[in-house]
Symmetry: C2
Subunit: 215 residues, 2 copies
Amino acid sequence: MKYMTANETFRKISEEKQNKIIEAALNEFSQYGYSDANINKIAERAGVSVGSLYKYFNDKQNLYQTIVNISSDTLQETLGRIIGENDDIFIIIEKIIGAIQEYARTHHKMFKLYNEMTAENNSELTWKTAGSVEGVTADLYASLIEKAQKQGLARKDFDPRYFAFFLDNLFVMLQFSYSCEYYKERLKMYVGENAIHDDALMCEQLIKFIKGAFC
Amino acid sequence: MKYMTANETFRKISEEKQNKIIEAALNEFSQYGYSDANINKIAERAGVSVGSLYKYFNDKQNLYQTIVNISSDTLQETLGRIIGENDDIFIIIEKIIGAIQEYARTHHKMFKLYNEMTAENNSELTWKTAGSVEGVTADLYASLIEKAQKQGLARKDFDPRYFAFFLDNLFVMLQFSYSCEYYKERLKMYVGENAIHDDALMCEQLIKFIKGAFC
DNA sequence: AGAATAAAAGTGAGCAGACGCTCACTTTTG
DNA sequence: CAAAAGTGAGCGTCTGCTCACTTTTATTCT
């Protein structure tokens, strides 16, 4: 169900109002992180009173959880669609890289939120939601690789679960490199100032790297 | 110079006292992150008064910077030593993986601190110290790969700077996977409960992956 | 050597500002 | 005219940091 973590009241208000609140909260949380995010500011930016906000969400944690869930669902939906298209593995990888590059521009706050969330120490809470997603992804990648091995598209002398892990590691770091200040700077150090804008070159090189590893 | 960011007073006190303060601060910062770290608690755990702490360090930021610098230096020193040994690239990679696995146990708080630091938004401050380190690493990896290309150890149809980037991405994620709660859980999802303890298998699989990509 | 004294180091109660959250109240809805 | 939705001043708490004060160390003088 949509916005499961929010209170009933929130689900009854107009979609426009919902969106304004979600946008304001995503803005604040992704920019300042959980602890430094200011609830009063979120309310002000969203054009609602703090009192109302606390009728929609039990507390700060609850609002944060809702935003994390929304982001997680949005990203997962895209990934699911791509993998469900039943292409061969290297086409899928290319599509995923393309999706990361596109999302880094249109939804970069969600990537940033994801980065902050994983750095937090009370991961137990956030793991319950984002964790299930990671589990599904892990299985999907592993079975894709296994299929590729059977089709002769990948060599057979490695553990598909480990290679799925390394593959997703490369994707996670690509997300960070496009969305988070620190990793943006780091990317520049490695491949130069304007690499951030040359999507095609990055995609080409990364696929070459992955293909090499698999074949 | 040692502890450059700290005040002169700090550099004059006994090494034992310095170490107690650094340990207490590293503990607090790595466990709770910058914002939620409590200065009063650090002082108490280190066995000094808050007043003294503020004679050693200008403010919270300053103490944090000092801890980040120390961690950064410690890790960089190890990496520099390994790369300086002039082995062929795959021996170096194996040694780096081994060092990550070892440090994940002996210095895991430093890795955690690094993860939190990179998620912070005021990266400009921390970039000044950690950033210079990343720059050096980037150059070292790239020239190592270039050398391998010339020696015929790696194929020549890729950009060494991009491959250096992907290589270090795999190392960074390995660090996180061994040290940070979220990524530990994620690693379990991918390769199973007891993969965290099977260092040899992880090393073997990762080298296989990297070797494939390079050759 | 020890007293006198100045400088440096150390202390912790408490100030000041920030912020999550409440609640007595008003407005809107059905 | 209830019931539900909305409001925002301000309460309570938390915490970075200060400052008036004490203790220790270093130096000078008799």
